[in-house]
């Protein structure tokens, strides 16, 4: 088949909302876009281990320590599936890790904000995992098969994490005045960065149109942001926290909440490398990767030797 009919067949698969599988022909641009998006998602899971991971040692009860450790472990597991999904497109985990630590691939901007109190563990679960789920649920139907299937499993676990985050905050709100203040302060810090997780406004999002046409992305950034706000407001009321947006109000006509605009200048600073933690997060990942090099080499050398011996 020539390229023309291959493309026609690819587009008809997309048109029928069926999956593209690793051995199927695909346009180079599609392959690159899927690699970029899946890698960025995988990196987000791995970098996302850091802000919460540094609180494992300080968790204030043994039950909370177990919950947090299991959650951060799940994030490593998500990174693992997603790197595997990416490997089906011919890019290895090692190459992807190199691209991350050299700054050639990105991860979610939210993890460039610091986690400063134990309440942040709850807020990250509630708002950050909540926003991630809003982004990810539609991706279970994404056109690239291995990505869509990983997302089904990941979404189940993410909604678990989100509930645990909410439950931590709800428990702290039943505690002391200091604990309630800690929760409110944390929500104040994370609300806007969580809304930024959906990316720039639609009129400033260069990749959205092509990704939607290819069925890689299913909703626009602003759509998803609106969903997040609509779902979160009633939960904030149940928790008894205030969302830090004076423009937030119910719009009877739209049957949705109106809300203010995030600080897009701050967003640009964070995605272009000047967020509070960008340097620290990459340095941490680089150190772990480099410190582990001798162990990975030993495992390879051992496997090679065992193979040779079994062939003798």
């Amino acid at each position: 088949m020539d390229e023309h009919s291959l493309l026609a067949s690819f587009e008809s698969t997309i048109g029928r909302h069926e999956r593209i599988e690793p051995r199927d022909w695909m346009p180079e641009g599609y392959r690159k876009t899927v690699v970029r998006q899946v890698a960025q998602h995988a990196h987000s899971e791995i970098i996302g281990m850091q802000p919460e991971g540094q609180w494992i040692g300080r968790a204030p009860s043994l039950r909370r320590k177990a919950i947090l450790l299991a959650k951060v472990q799940d994030e490593a597991g998500h990174g693992l599936y997603l790197y595997s999904a990416c490997e089906t497109l011919g890019v290895s985990r090692a190459e992807l890790t190199e691209m991350l630590i050299e700054g050639r691939q990105k991860y979610s901007s939210i993890f460039n904000y610091p986690a400063l109190s134990y309440a942040d563990v709850g807020t990250i679960g509630w708002l950050v995992d909540g926003a991630a789920i809003c982004n990810q649920v539609p991706l279970c139907r994404t056109s690239y098969g291995p990505y869509g299937r990983s997302m089904i499993r990941i979404c189940k676990e993410e909604s678990f994490h989100q509930r645990q985050g909410f439950e931590l905050l709800a428990t702290m709100m039943r505690g002391t005045d200091e604990q309630r203040a800690m929760v409110q302060e944390s929500v104040d810090r994370f609300w806007w960065p969580a809304l930024m997780m959906f990316g720039p406004p639609d009129d400033d999002s260069p990749n959205t149109a092509q990704s939607m046409a290819w069925g890689i992305k299913r909703n626009t950034n602003d759509d998803l942001r609106q969903r997040m706000v609509d779902m979160t407001v009633p939960q904030a009321a149940v928790l008894g926290v205030t969302l830090p947006d004076p423009d937030l109000k119910w719009n009877e006509e739209r049957q949705s909440y109106d809300f203010g605009a995030p600080d897009w200048d701050e967003f640009k600073a964070v995605i272009s490398g000047n967020g509070p933690c960008n340097t620290q997060r990459i340095a941490h990942r680089r150190r772990a990767h480099e410190d582990g090099a001798w162990v990975r080499e030993a495992a390879l050398a051992f496997a090679r030797r065992s193979n040779e011996e079994s062939h003798e």
Partner: protein, 312 residues
């Protein structure tokens, strides 16, 4: 801000279904603190000194708690994602053992639990983990020191899990039903821990020159703390005599045979390093610890101690 009737909020095939209620079985670690020994007969068997039983449970529980705290420091720092996940698993298993053993200690003799301000909601396991000072911790010194590199961590885990598995195999016959049940559960977990450590021990020994050098040096750094594992404290002797505990000196030969097997297949010589002395003969089981330990406790306890009336 006016709040709409929640039924009017648009349904976005909400992933939040059940967040505000729903099925408790969807929550890992439950929706609230639950007594880990709920429904278990915690009567102390006849002829057993309550204080001795509680102290013995603290010894075994503190070993697990402190090593779990150390191992969880690998989170986001391991040589590869698979190792990150495996080390978190082991840390979670040990944390689970610690929770049961600390709860058992508190049930056997409530006077071992530190007094908290009137009305503090901290359950006994948390009062024990977060509000005891270093001198009241009964763990062996082996579990306290910094992780070092991956080779040091594997050498320590091999010594620890081989020893603890041998203890727990005997402890399944304890006259104390709680201890025998904890041991039966732990045996399954620690069989995996020992296997994991032994496989890495062999891999590093027969991997590269560097991995072998690091392993030899890690093993000899760890070895001086080994003798303490087999030196019986008076409490251990008494609980063994009462049929509820195990005298650790009785597992020394068995552990030695197992270690010799690992050393032989790895081509590693047994280290010739003298045991670490105590302070006026006092060691970990007496509450006399290393300098590293108070730093570890500072991290473990900082949030809980700042909020003695906190609910988590």
């Amino acid at each position: 801000m006016s709040t709409p009737d929640p039924s009017h909020v648009p349904d976005h095939d909400s992933v939040y279904d059940g967040l505000l209620g729903g099925d408790d079985s969807h929550w890992a670690f439950g929706t609230d603190f639950e007594d880990p020994l709920a429904g278990v007969d915690t009567t102390v068997p006849d002829g057993v000194d309550h204080r001795d039983l509680a102290t013995y449970c603290l010894m075994l529980g503190d070993d697990a708690l402190v090593l779990s705290q150390r191992l969880s420091q690998w989170c986001s720092n391991a040589p590869d994602l698979e190792e990150d996940i495996a080390l978190a698993n082991i840390a979670l298993d040990l944390l689970g053992q610690a929770r049961l053993l600390l709860a058992r200690a508190a049930a056997a003799d409530p006077t071992v639990v530190p007094a908290l301000p009137e009305g503090s909601p901290a359950p006994p396991e948390d009062a024990l983990a977060f509000f005891r000072d270093d001198r009241d911790f009964r763990n062996v010194r082996l579990v306290e020191s910094d992780n070092g590199d991956f080779a040091v961590t594997m050498a320590r885990l091999l010594l620890f899990s081989t020893w603890r598995l041998a203890l727990f195999q005997r402890l399944t016959d304890s006259r104390d039903h709680v201890l025998s049940a904890v041991a039966a559960k732990g045996v399954k977990e620690m069989t995996y821990h020992r296997d994991y450590a032994a496989r890495w021990f062999l891999t590093l020994a027969r991997g590269t020159e560097e991995s072998r050098r690091r392993l030899v040096s890690g093993l000899s750094a760890t070895w001086p703390l080994r003798a303490e594992l087999f030196s019986a404290h008076d409490v251990e002797v008494r609980v063994a005599r009462a049929g509820v505990g195990v005298d650790p000196s009785t597992v020394a030969d068995e552990v030695d045979v197992l270690l010799e097997q690992v050393f032989a297949s790895s081509g590693i010589d047994r280290p010739e390093v003298a045991p670490l002395a105590g302070v006026q003969r006092r060691t970990g089981r007496d509450g006399l610890h290393t300098e590293a330990f108070s730093l570890l406790l500072a991290e473990l306890q900082v949030v809980a101690r700042a909020h003695p009336m906190g609910t988590w």
